[in-house]
């Protein structure tokens, strides 16, 4: 089994939103970062991967199994963190653990308490007294305490302060020491990804714009700045999106080498950050293919 998650020709529509004929593979043993604006369909896709939503058509396989036959087996091996807390506010953490722990065969109580210590979570305080960040830590502790092979996280870092966010990244690195583990996380915070993610999947309006190795993105995408006069019908072909101002143009290319060969030293070419790629790709061309 090479892929932890496989989606094949998945269709799903509700209201005005729709995902059509989407296929995606999430590589086992690696971290896949899931990016895209609000309403791009990241959460919907994640929910389909967890069988919270069922596709209208298409096939979904998780850890080599499908939900129809192996729902419990699959979920036994998934650790999840959602962006909204799934916790009983009137209970304290220790009670909450008593609800969750017996549901997993591989629950590791010692590990759970280690995480609680490390995250400084009080076991005896009601969950309603916890801050959003603490609730996220609770979900994380639950997700990590049953030796899950696949961690699925929907914007886990949204409510975390910068200090814990770093520790969170460290934690995920520790998980990835084991090559049997796979992490899929969606996020708005791009700096999280560059230090962790191996693959980046970019979604927009229910479609996957690209799903690539981090290097490929770093090597191919670039921000190009130069004089407006350089642009014409031919040269514009090389760019996914162009902004013109009086002082020049700024554009995104996904073919670094071609642009360099074309313009040479006449333009400034810089590595594009994921944010820039997202920003310039909105409403633009889906992928860079220069003919």
């Amino acid at each position: 089994m090479e892929h932890a998650i496989e989606l094949r020709n998945v269709h799903k529509s509700f209201g005005s939103f729709s995902i059509t004929d989407l296929s995606l593979k999430v590589k086992k043993g690696f971290v896949t970062g899931f990016i895209g604006g609000n309403g791009a369909g990241k959460s919907t896709l994640i929910k389909m991967m967890m069988n919270l939503l069922q596709p209208d058509s298409g096939e979904i396989r998780v850890l080599g199994m499908n939900y129809k036959e192996n729902e419990k087996k699959i979920k036994e091996r998934i650790g999840f963190v959602f962006n909204d807390a799934t916790l009983y506010k009137e209970l304290d953490l220790s009670d909450m653990k008593k609800l969750i722990a017996p549901c997993y065969r591989q629950w590791d109580d010692r590990l759970f308490h280690q995480y609680c210590d490390r995250f400084e979570l009080p076991l005896r305080n009601k969950i309603k007294s916890f801050s959003d960040g603490m609730k996220m830590k609770v979900s994380l502790a639950f997700a990590l305490s049953h030796h899950a092979d696949l961690l699925i996280m929907d914007e886990p870092t949204a409510n975390l302060d910068p200090i814990f966010r770093r520790e969170f990244m460290q934690l995920l690195h520790e998980v990835m020491l084991n090559e049997e583990k796979t992490i899929l996380l969606s996020t708005h915070i791009m700096s999280d990804l560059s230090s962790l993610a191996d693959y980046i999947t970019f979604m927009q309006k229910g479609q996957i714009v690209f799903s690539k190795e981090l290097h490929e993105i770093e090597e191919k995408y670039a921000i190009v700045r130069g004089k407006v006069e350089l642009l014409d019908g031919d040269t514009e072909q090389y760019f996914l999106s162009i902004t013109r101002t009086d002082s020049g143009f700024e554009a995104l290319t996904s073919d670094y080498k071609a642009v360099q060969a074309l313009f040479g030293n006449e333009v400034i070419i810089e590595k594009a950050s994921l944010e820039e790629i997202m920003y310039y790709s909105r409403g633009g061309k889906a992928d860079a293919s220069i003919n």
Binding site: V31, H173, M176, L177, S195, L196, D198, L214, H215, E218
Partner: protein, 124 residues
């Protein structure tokens, strides 16, 4: 094994790792049979993605600097003295090419460079 990477460098991180390990082999700091940290360990230590270290190791393996045993790890490969010399010569050539290119940019003549090298060579 110490590896220092720079996030603001123009050079891709995997190339930085590759070059530093290469340097350590060529300088004799790492010798045949020395174990490298696992790529997952190295990724965690350097706060970079696993695929980055994987790529660095793969290229080092392709170039004959290291070999990997599935399930065990990666080790420094046997370095033939001639091969090492050859590799060092290649490195020197690359650097000289760079020096020449830079010199031309600022308008130094061949004689200027030669003179300069003579002075520096004598000082060492």
């Amino acid at each position: 094994m110490q590896i220092l990477i720079s996030n603001s460098s123009k050079e891709a991180i995997y190339i930085q790792i590759k070059n530093q390990i290469k340097e350590k082999v060529l300088s004799g700091e790492l010798v045949e049979g020395d174990a490298l940290p696992s790529m997952r360990q190295l990724a965690m230590d350097l706060h970079i993605s696993v695929i980055t270290t994987k790529r660095a190791y793969e290229e080092l393996e392709k170039e004959g600097f290291i070999y990997s045993i599935v399930g065990k790890g990666s080790y420094i490969a046997e370095q033939n003295a001639d091969v090492i010399r050859e590799k060092k010569l290649t490195t020197i050539e690359e650097k000289l090419v760079e020096v020449i290119a830079n010199s031309k940019e600022v308008g130094l003549s061949l004689q200027d460079i030669k003179d300069w090298i003579t002075i520096l060579y004598g000082e060492r």
